[in-house]
């Protein structure tokens, strides 16, 4: 034993434990997110608990089991249940849905109270536009007030979803475009007024245009009202767990599934369908339900803008550092600047971006180019452009470091060869060095994208919002609206997880969003790392 200690072997093992802990935490973290995130999409079994308390009162609870835990009996402050002298008690967290009937859509079920636990075949999960899921049994189906066969339900739902799509199109796109046009006319008029060019002729033109738009609007609105009536035609009558029946208009219904009747493949199909709608749909119910499409869109657009800004800057800076800068104090200073840009906390960039870009630069732009819409700011308020620029500064060192590493790996014999053949330095760079270094540049850009996609703190100050009414890219001229605020996956996680009124209900969605974000970032990183590794191999063979 003593010799064993003297050999130092225990300490070696202890340091090995450090590796193990790090590995467990990385892999464990990813697995945790993956399992929780994916289970959000998997249609779970619906359980029916028949409960009885000490007073002999019984009740029925129907829902999905969310969690199962074992707690010390002493922590339980429940007089309604007799647990004998057991040390620990098992309990289930059940999502009971039916938010309009019960105040809490989650409920703890204590194991000792459960008399019978079944999975009824005919229980349905109704996914709704508002009020969350409904769990219960379908009693009757009505078409326009007439009772019809339950089998026609699928067609009805199909019809409703088509109508809803039309409504969305009318409301969001067509009417939105008219409002946008009206606002533009107002701004044009105001601009003409400010410039002193508002003639009565011009004014009449604007009025006429407005009248036309109002006419169009009325027509669309009539259409919309008609569609709204259409969509409310059918309803179903459902029985909830406590026996009361509820009318649900099909207009509210997104999907009806019989989870307990599904086989594995049916569930798999449903699983992918859920993933699809998560990625492609808009959020509902204050972001706690529905999809995350605007957040994905916002993240991608912002990151693309950032890439456009950061790539040339980063590459040029790296080329300067590696190819042009002499080995002097100034270069050292530059390198320290690069290190510090990488080390400055991201929130500081946010503060800088808000003060400098948004208020100072944006404010001046507004004064110069958008006086007609003042005092409401155009570029003088947080928006996607400022976010992209702020993150571009933040990720600049990532691109520089990676590109420079790539440049350093190119053997100097290649440069010498090119120069010896009479090429200028610029030509050598453009024709020889950059093409060879391009994978390294790619690596840098990908790493920068991964970093930017996950960064939230600065964005909270310079442009991200919890709910953006319009996407920064749409069909209205000039199509790309750089001044608009946007939604972001990372911020979505923070907002839904911590700022939403019903955190418990939103948690699975947060896990799913986190999974999506992690998948994107890990994939980007892996790509970058593998490109880099391949590059290293290539040059190793070149060097020899």
């Amino acid at each position: 034993m003593k010799t064993w200690f003297k050999s130092g072997s225990p300490w070696v093992w202890l340091s090995a434990a450090g590796v193990s802990i790090s590995l467990i935490s990385v892999v464990g973290l990813l697995l945790l997110i993956a399992s929780r995130g994916l289970s959000y999409f998997w249609p779970s079994q619906i359980h029916q608990f028949e409960l009885q308390n000490v007073h002999g009162e019984s009740s029925v609870v129907i829902g999905e089991i969310y969690e199962h835990e074992r707690i010390p009996a002493k922590q339980l402050n429940n007089k309604n249940v007799d647990i004998g002298d057991a040390q620990t008690v098992d309990r289930y967290l059940v999502k009971t849905g039916n938010r309009e009937l019960v105040s809490l859509d989650f409920r703890w079920v204590l194991e000792p109270m459960v008399q019978k636990q079944t999975q009824p075949e005919n229980v349905v999960v109704i996914e709704r536009r508002t009020n969350g899921n409904f769990y219960g049994f379908i009693e009757e189906v009505y078409m326009g007030g007439e009772k019809v066969e339950a089998a026609t339900l699928d067609d009805f739902i199909e019809r409703v979803s088509e109508l809803q799509e039309d409504i969305e199109q009318l409301q969001g796109k067509d009417i939105g475009a008219i409002n946008f046009e009206l606002e533009r006319i107002r701004l044009k008029e105001r601009k003409a007024e400010l410039d002193g060019k508002l003639t009565s002729q011009l004014k009449a033109d604007f009025e006429q245009r407005r009248a036309e738009l109002a006419q169009q609007y009325n027509k669309l609105e009539a259409n919309l009202n008609q569609l709204r009536q259409e969509v409310q035609r059918d309803k179903i009558v459902v029985r909830a767990m406590d026996g009361q029946t509820v009318d649900i208009n099909l207009e509210q219904v997104l999907q009806i599934t019989f989870n307990n009747q599904m086989g594995f493949f049916a569930k798999l199909g449903q699983f992918f369908h859920q993933i699809g709608s998560f990625i492609g749909d808009d959020p509902r119910e204050a972001n706690t339900e529905g999809g995350v499409f605007p957040a994905i869109f916002g993240t991608v657009l912002m990151v693309l803008l950032m890439t456009v800004i950061v790539s040339p800057l980063g590459v040029v800076a790296a080329i300067y550092l590696h190819e042009y800068a002499g080995n002097n104090a100034f270069t050292k200073l530059l390198r320290i600047a690069v290190i510090n840009l990488a080390g400055v906390p991201s929130i500081v960039y946010g503060v800088f971006g808000l003060g400098f870009f948004v208020y100072m630069v944006g404010g001046s732009l507004d004064q110069l180019f958008y006086p007609e819409s003042l005092p409401s700011p155009t570029f003088g308020s947080p928006g996607v452009l400022w976010s992209a620029i702020t993150l571009a500064i933040l990720t600049l060192p990532v691109v520089i470091v990676s590109t420079e590493e790539g440049l350093a790996r190119i053997p100097s014999s290649m440069r010498h060869g090119s120069l010896a053949l009479g090429a200028t330095k610029a030509e050598t760079l453009w024709r020889i060095i950059l093409p060879i270094a391009s994978p390294a540049i790619m690596t840098g850009i990908i790493l920068a994208i991964a970093r930017a996609a996950g960064e939230v703190a600065p964005l909270m100050l310079v442009g991200v919002v919890k709910m953006a009414p319009t996407l920064p890219l749409d069909g209205n001229f000039p199509f790309l609206h750089l001044e608009r605020k946007f939604m972001h996956l990372g911020f979505h996680i923070y907002d839904v997880g911590f700022q939403s009124p019903n955190v418990e209900a939103a948690r699975p969605l947060v896990y799913a969003t986190a999974l999506l974000l992690v998948t994107i970032i890990v994939a980007l990183n892996m790509t970058a790392v593998s490109i880099r590794n391949r590059l290293r191999e290539k040059y190793r063979s070149l060097e020899n």
Partner: protein
């Protein structure tokens, strides 16, 4: 090749152009960093500048109005129109700035407030812009100079009028209509409160309760109360703007009365503020916010008193003393309406501008001819008006951020209502005259605490992992292990924060004993496994060599963790009375937050581990091989070589790795934002939360008003973070550079 030929060669031109462009691009990196620094400084600078006062404009009174002495002055919010009230009870408005309609100095309006048979005895101005004229009959008239802004198209015009919020009729203060010696008056929308001493020596309280709202309707009901009889004289009398307290000073004895009782006017406190200094009270006024009383004394001090909770109930206590004059008495004190600033005036007209919370003198100089000269602070506190014999003077006061000084940010400050000086961060509140508490100490402390707990967790794990990976691990394994751990660095911190707040915090709360058990179980399990391997017969050891150690321990550690979590409820039941959280709060008396330093330590530890690991591993791995070979050849064991040779050589690199990790922990925002309760408390307890500089910025920046003190202090917080990480990063980089040089020379 000649120079001329060179310049005209398009290829060379391109070459030169490229050189310039690329150099500019490279330098722009440095430029960016400098820009950030300069911009932060630019925003912060104004808060440390002291106040300045400069003459802005001066206008002459109308000639026929020059005979009567001016007794009160004032100006509108935008400092466009000034006015004076003379001893005959006439108010006259004058244009103070040129505009489209009126030239500067133009007389706009004169109105008589008092009728011919009324004689002005005293005039009082309230903090809410009313002027109260007391006549020799014992009646008052309340006027409010009002400025009506109207728009005609884009043209804005402003016209002065006089509003009578209590009606145009004279109001007797006393029920018996006696003359009044001295009085104080305040009003809000619901009521007006008057405290007065009558000619027949009664101290009385009169409340005028609005029937509806004084803003729309001057109708009121009066309620009269007698406070005390046989008081022949008082020196000073004041009613707090919230109408709840009355303060009377008499022969240096100060009595505070409670005024919000309809039946009784009890004495709340009695004290002598000058008993120690042997001075006399020569001025008394109330600071905005209705809780502090300011006394001027004849030895040139201004004393701030307020009520403080102590063991024997609430008591008035002297909080601060300002030496406002060396050789003169302080005879007038003018408080600002919303902030804790005041002007102290001496008989010779010396004026000092002070701010109580930050305990600073902001400005001093001779502004007035005497202390009797009418003087008023502009409503937005950005100017003062004073009147001479024939003219009205307007001075600009540039005093945007009086509440911020270096000492107010970093030292204990005695805030109103607090029992003792404290470090408090509380930037906003519902009320207008709230005393902002901008101490950066609690949030800087929170930053340190969070970083420290994170480092406590991260440094051992990261260094152990780095040592093993760099020194013991076979290259094949290293190739996969290193990128895997480094992958953690790429994980968005928002995800770590979310997991810490919503998954880890409840988990730790529920399985608290398990966490502490793990601290013992994990090393123990490692040692047992190691010893078991050591005792293993040789022929089996061949199949599982020591270099597989991490893989061998991995399942053991997972099992140990599972064991800890299974045992947790039982330990809790047998040792901690079934609930460790309750045990900690009740039996140990330690506050327990669900989102506490332990959670932050672990979560942020995870964020920092890859940073430290990666750099430390690089440093250890690049220790030249001949050093280790030499040591091993001389008979040292692997471990001895590691400790005595490798770690020693790589120590600067390890140091710089830790510095980098610390820099990251200090600036991390999302994790602390989500995994702490964000309460700015100063407490090292592992079971309590904190608020960090970065989280504070994230929480408060979006709602702070641009250009306000709050906004600039948040920039200061960012600047502190910037400087802090700059120092750490530069230090780390410097050390690393030197190490690299050393290695290459070896």
């Amino acid at each position: 090749m000649t120079v001329v030929a060179k310049t005209f060669d398009p290829r060379q031109l391109k070459n030169t152009l490229a050189r310039w462009l690329i150099s500019a691009g490279g330098i722009s990196v440095l430029f960016t960093l400098v820009l950030i620094f300069m911009y932060l400084v630019y925003v912060i600078k104004p808060i440390f500048e002291s106040a300045s006062i400069a003459p802005e404009t001066q206008i002459q009174f109308l000639e026929n109005a020059q005979d009567s002495e001016t007794v009160a002055v004032g100006v509108d919010e935008l400092k466009e129109i000034g006015f004076n009230i003379n001893a005959q009870g006439e108010i006259s408005f004058y244009q103070m700035q040129d505009n489209e309609d009126h030239a500067r100095g133009e007389h706009l309006l004169t109105e008589s407030i008092l009728s011919n048979d009324e004689n002005l005895q005293k005039i009082l101005s309230t903090t809410s812009n009313q002027y109260v004229l007391l006549t020799t009959d014992g009646t008052i008239k309340v006027v409010e100079p009002t400025f009506i802004v109207s728009f005609e198209g884009d043209k804005r015009s402003m016209n002065p009028t006089v509003r009578y919020p209590l009606g145009e009729d004279a109001i007797y203060i006393d029920e018996d209509e006696a003359a009044i010696k001295d009085f104080s008056f305040v009003m809000n929308e619901e009521k007006a409160m008057i405290m007065a001493l009558s000619e027949d020596n009664r101290l009385i309280k009169t409340a005028l309760i609005a029937d509806d709202d004084f803003y729309y309707d001057p109708e009121f009901t009066a309620e009269y109360q007698l406070i005390a009889d046989n008081i022949d004289a008082i020196d000073f009398i004041q009613v707090t703007p919230d109408t709840t307290m009355g303060v009377v000073a008499r022969n240096n004895e100060v009595s505070v009365y409670e005024l919000d009782d309809d039946w009784d006017v009890p004495v709340k406190g009695q004290f002598n503020p000058v008993i120690e200094s042997q001075a006399n009270i020569t001025a008394m006024t109330l600071l905005s916010g209705s809780s502090s009383i300011l006394f001027g004394t004849d030895n040139g001090d201004v004393l701030q008193w307020f009520e403080v909770a102590s063991d024997d109930g609430r008591k008035f206590q002297q909080i601060r003393r300002f030496k406002a004059s060396i050789n003169e008495a302080i005879t007038q004190i003018y408080p600002e309406r919303y902030r804790k600033s005041f002007f102290a005036v001496t008989p010779s007209g010396q004026v000092g501008l002070y701010y109580t919370t930050s305990e600073t003198q902001l400005w001093q100089g001779k502004m007035l001819q005497s202390d009797q000269q009418p003087f008023a602070i502009a409503p937005r506190a950005n100017g003062v008006v004073l009147s001479g014999k024939t003219q009205l003077e307007l001075l600009t006061v540039d005093n945007e951020h009086p509440e911020v000084t270096w000492s107010a940010l970093w030292q204990e400050v005695w805030y109103e209502g607090y029992p003792e000086p404290a470090y408090i961060w509380q930037s906003t509140s519902g009320s207008d005259d709230f005393e902002a508490k901008f101490s950066l100490v609690p949030i800087s402390f929170g930053t340190m605490k969070a970083a420290l707990y994170a480092m406590l967790f991260a440094v051992p794990v990261a260094l152990a992992a780095a040592v093993y990976t760099a020194y013991f691990m076979p290259p094949v394994m290293r190739k996969t292990v290193k990128p895997t751990i480094e992958l953690m660095e790429a994980l968005p911190t928002v995800i770590l924060g979310f997991l810490a707040g919503l998954w880890l915090a409840p988990l730790i709360e529920a399985y608290l004993p398990a966490v502490f058990l793990l601290l013992i179980l994990l090393p123990l399990a490692t040692f047992i496994t190691a010893f078991a391997w050591y005792k293993l017969p040789k022929n089996i050891k061949v199949f599982v060599p020591e270099s597989f150690a991490p893989m061998i321990i991995l399942p053991v550690l997972i099992l140990a963790a599972m064991l800890a979590f299974t045992l947790s409820p039982m330990i809790e039941a047998s040792w901690f009375g079934g609930d460790m959280r309750k045990f900690i709060t009740n039996d140990l008396g330690i506050d327990f937050d669900q989102r506490n330093a332990l959670v932050v330590g672990i979560a942020m530890g995870f964020a920092v581990i890859p940073t430290i690991f990666s750099m430390a591993e690089d440093a250890i791995f690049s220790v030249p091989k001949h050093l280790t070979s030499g040591s091993l050849a001389l008979g040292a064991t692997q471990w001895q070589t590691l400790v005595k040779v490798v770690l020693l050589t790589a120590s600067p690199g390890i140091f710089s790795a830790i510095m980098m990790g610390l820099g990251r922990a200090v600036g991390e925002t999302m994790i602390v934002l989500m995994a702490t309760g964000n309460t700015p408390v100063i407490d090292w307890s592992i079971f309590q939360g904190m608020r960090t500089l970065s989280a504070n910025i994230a929480v408060e920046m979006p709602e702070s008003e641009v250009g306000s003190s709050h906004y600039r202090i948040l920039f200061l917080a960012a600047f502190v973070l910037f400087v802090f990480t700059f120092v750490f990063n530069t230090l780390a980089e410097f050390v690393r550079q030197r190490l690299r040089d050393k290695y290459s020379s070896l």
